[in-house]
Point group: D2
Chain length 400, copies 4
């Protein structure tokens, strides 16, 4: 039912052994830093199927290194615990039975302490390995493991926010948190782009996911795209104009979603004592009207655009215009379905197993958010979610 960030083919092969070790340590520490302010109990729960318990993310990313790197490459390597494959496998059907996703929140064991011990055990073995020379193939797998963990770091942020933001006590995560000090605001202008044949997809050096591969030409007619994402103030006008009560702005499926779930505002918004507030990782606050609206579904993004008499950009328009846009605080829904680029090919084996398996009934998001890991911001990056997803940091940009 939902999206899991799964790794795919990588093509980066320039860092040296020492750089790899440093990078390993950096990536692995970052996951722990994200979790540092949590109470033990916060690591355990799974309020909805889309949200995984933080301890599961910590175990799953560790399991990845153990399964795909240590076991095949370290002679005599002993599993930390043979049963963990059963617990921390996510969707790799070729590697063994996995715990059904909705049950993750029922597991009190392994404990948080067990999982940190598991991390230490695997980290020690990995660091040992990385002190030796690594083959090109192993190098690739390692970099994939880094990106995999960095993707789960974004999910750690969003899942922690969901867990705390749906607790009746609405506890703050910390005084400082991503997005606390928002970016300087500019006035939105519509940027005109000329029609023509444009090249789309990854090019050149550096890491990329296979869904970005297959650079290809796309013809675009003239269009204009807003320089800024839609703000809370602009979205509030939609709410106040009865946007959630008027079926005309909505897809049929979106309208059903609004009614069945009694949606009246973005996720985390609360109307308290006559004022709109929202839950942030710093606790409940009054809405900041200048901030980009965040935590909206594709249905809401599309309805907002329809109410404005405008539309969402396609992912191609976004990529072509990207250098002229102010982006990076929220992911942005595009009006492109998540489908393969021409020439897309599934990689063989367990790692490549799932490259194309999510390419149905999901929409592409472009950009990045305040909780996106550093290496995951680039203009060709294709993020994707189901149309009802709201727990990610997702906003809206308009085109015409």
């Amino acid at each position: 039912m939902s999206y899991i960030l799964e790794p795919s083919l990588i093509l980066e092969n320039t860092s040296t052994g020492n750089e790899l070790l440093d990078r390993y340590i950096t990536v692995r520490n970052r996951s722990k830093q994200i979790c540092a302010p949590l109470q033990t109990e916060d690591y355990v729960v799974q309020p909805v199927a889309d949200v995984s318990p933080p301890k599961w993310h910590l175990g799953h990313t560790t399991w990845f290194f153990e399964t795909f790197i240590l076991k095949p490459n370290v002679i005599g390597y002993q599993d930390f615990n043979a049963e963990y494959n059963y617990v921390f496998n996510s969707y790799y059907e070729s590697v063994g039975v996995r715990v059904i996703r909705t049950n993750r929140g029922n597991l009190s064991r392994p404990t948080v302490q067990d999982i940190y011990a598991y991390r230490d055990y695997v980290d020690a073995a990995m660091e040992n390995l990385l002190r030796c020379e690594v083959s090109a193939e192993l190098h690739e797998l390692l970099v994939l493991g880094f990106y995999h963990e960095e993707q789960h770091q974004e999910l750690l942020w969003t899942d922690i926010k969901y867990i705390l933001g749906h607790n009746p006590l609405l506890p703050a995560y910390a005084e400082n948190y991503p997005g606390k000090n928002s970016m300087p605001k500019n006035d939105a202008v519509f940027i005109p782009i000329k029609s023509g044949l444009y090249e789309i997809g990854h090019q050149g050096e550096g890491f990329y996911f296979d869904n970005e591969l297959g650079r290809h030409a796309v013809y675009l007619p003239d269009f204009e795209i807003s320089s800024e994402p839609v703000t809370n103030q602009e979205y509030l006008e939609f709410i106040q104009d009865g946007g959630y009560q008027n079926f005309r702005f909505w897809h049929a499926e979106g309208w059903d979603w609004v009614k069945n779930n009694e949606i009246k505002a973005p996720l985390y918004w609360h109307f308290i004592d006559g004022e709109w507030c929202n839950y942030t990782l710093g606790g409940i606050k009054k809405i900041d009207l200048q901030e980009p609206v965040c935590h909206v579904s594709y249905y809401e993004a599309s309805a907002y655009a329809s109410w404005k008499g405008l539309r969402l950009p396609t992912e191609f328009e976004w990529e072509v215009a990207s250098e002229k846009l102010n982006w990076g605080s929220v992911w942005e829904w595009t009006n492109s379905a998540y489908l393969p680029y021409p020439g897309f090919v599934t990689a063989p084996g367990a790692i490549g197993e799932y490259n194309g398996k999510f390419m149905v009934n999901q929409m592409v998001l472009r950009g990045a958010s305040v909780v996106t890991s550093p290496n995951h911001s680039r203009k060709t990056y294709r993020n994707f979610f189901q149309t009802s997803a709201r727990w990610q940091y997702i906003g809206i940009r308009l085109a015409k």
Copy 2:
């Protein structure tokens, strides 16, 4: 949850008054002819939400003419029954409350006889009206009403097949039925098409739906497309090779669908006494191996292509190659999501209310089937269904 063919803007305005009357009579008679072999009881039931009772189709298409043509244009027109608006409205939220779709099969009244009386009543008033001169605007609405009813005629075929084909007695509809004598078969060859900028969308005279509008350039790389749809024999090899048991060929969502619904073959296929048979409108028959495979979901089409190491064409590839293809016995899943063409605009008012409302989480089908109404076959026609839909006459064409 599912697709309803809903009318949209039309642009055809050349027939004269007499021609309109003739055409009205022809269209309206055709619906009755389709239902002629039915027993009264067959008109009533709704085995699943996607399938509407035939009597509902007969009433709904009549209600369309009464609501959008007679009431606004005939002074002093008396409703046949004021409560029918409640019963026969489908998805036109702006016209009034509608009967929830899954409840249609619980309605024993109005009876089939009542509905035929309703048709006669409306037909008399319409024929009266059509003997006078009609305005251009009314002309458009009329033509729209014809196309609307013709779309429901295809649904009548598919819904009747579902109702009879899911009855434990598996009764035949009639000795003769659409698709009984299949088209002459040719050997499939892959037709190469050169890369280039192609014009996509409707052009010139004749009726078209607004989703075909906005003729625009699309750049296509080199590709090849099969001249023929996939046959039962070819699909049987996929079944016999364990295609339904191997997750590698499937989207994650498709694999869940296979397992949750215990899918083992296309809809209407039965394995009887060691042989594959399928239900046809003529009753249960042995599979005709030369026929195009039919009644498959998008998941199955996509998994079959993956098993073959090939892919489905995009809707643009299909349109560009269409004149070289043998098509028309089955609709064909493309690998294009149903999304607006550049410049798509929603028409105002109740008629235009839903033009774009289905443009989410559905895939485009191209071509036509043996039960498609005569005016609904053209190379720019965009049909669309949800990825699990199988009760339509849908097959597979491969590309690479």
Copy 3:
């Protein structure tokens, strides 16, 4: 999920061959008379799982005679249609696969005409058989068949009422209908009954179901029981006093039922233009305040009693007091669970298969209603339904 009246052991053996034939004809005709005012379409639908299509009742009762009497007793008997066993078996797991109950409303075939032909065919064979002498064993089975069909006749009434009463056109069944002319009303008084040891259960001649068997002593303390069932007027006071809004009167499970189903009044009640009306088999009418309240669940009956500061009688209190009570227009919920009497034994074979299988999570009803068949009114008769059932003619009597 729901209750089906299923036959059980009988002990009546006094009628002669001719009497049996006469009775057979009478019983069989009565089912047809009940259905005479229906349109063909009314025979087909199943709006909820509890309600079976009338044509199913007609087929099932016929199937009973064919399966249990003709096939084992008439040499060379030819099935009318071998597939009907699949369609018309209800819950007799030992006789073969049955159509899952919620699917009955999806079956357009066999048609109503087919089923009447089936009845004629079986009736001819039965009448032939009944012109010969019948064994004691066969005699018993025959009488069981009569009672079985008579039980389904009550269900025919309640299911027809549900089908028509849930159609948006609210069509009347007929000008005259059971309960149209209500019984003369008496003022309710509380009748005191002395404590003591009372005999409970069937005694003596005549037909009875095995759940009435095992006449046994029950000690009752002093109690008082109302001479009359609760009226619409009395129940309206409960509604107007906020009875449906106050959890204090309800079982926890009942309160969940009220909230989940948004219950605000008995089934078939509608608040129209400021007045309470209810659907009757004669169409929509203003509430008759003197009538016994009808179509209430056990939860409602119990909540009403709690609101009054009183209670429902046990089935034993009811039976002991029965001769002093005015009863027969509505079944009455008792506060006794449906459990076996001491010494209850399950009969062997298919007929006896289900004697005790419903004795869990259902409550006993005593009395009879205006749609109860003539032979099904006696003071020891134990009717039973699940606590949420409302489509039967069920009311309330109070005790203290």
Copy 4:
């Protein structure tokens, strides 16, 4: 949907102030001792709706003393945290909004440490209060609070067993645990009891729940009852004889339950390497054939009895025979529905709110189990559960 032990009227008033204080400390410590072997994570999860997280039990029992004793009786008492009422209220609708039961497992906050601090805070205030003289009314409430917490202690045992016993690692709770050293076994004999009028219900001094009140005469015919509960060995014969595959032994509702849930053995039984094992609080062990069978539903108990050609006793038979029975290791399903005794009256106010609210669709259990708190074993005690409940320590006794 399920049963919560809720307090009701008590009548015990003999202990002095010091005794009350001692008893308070003893009861409160016992809850902590039960939880002592848990990891923090074990306190948090709720694998199914029936099972509450241990931290919730610890909070809820504390909330009870704070809400019903401290707030009304201690002038100037300050809530530990005003929001806890929202979190720890269970079903007391008159005291405020409650957290919906199935969501308890999504709450990471308040943490376990917070809840222990809450307990300490309330305990200090309570101990202060108990050093003064208490009124008779307060005395009653106190004793009720003790019994309430003791009831939750049994749930703590059963919920902890469920949480650990459904973890894929199947961790043991502790080396020593209730029921580890089973009772000496005797051969089962059927004890005959003479017919007659027997007094049922509580009599005399001591605490009792209001559902035991209303001592009254019940007439019982002759019966025999087994001196011992059914053993694992006896139950294994039922399994091996195909008991779970034969519908004849089951209620219709029970048979649906078996099929829908694929039930093949009691809860916690696993067939491992050709042998039946079961999860105990000491970990996975081979079945002890001499032990009473445990963790069976009413459906299973009833099917077993039916397979034996016997029946379950009524709660009255059990109570009359109780002094001759070996009981106390498992609760025992009776064939009596949980209904009020004659003269049962609901107490006013929040405490009495729920006295009778569970008296529908549940069955009475008699006896006690190895995890029952010391004061909760007496021959008149009426325990009750829904017919599908298996996570309690429940077994079977036969009668005829």
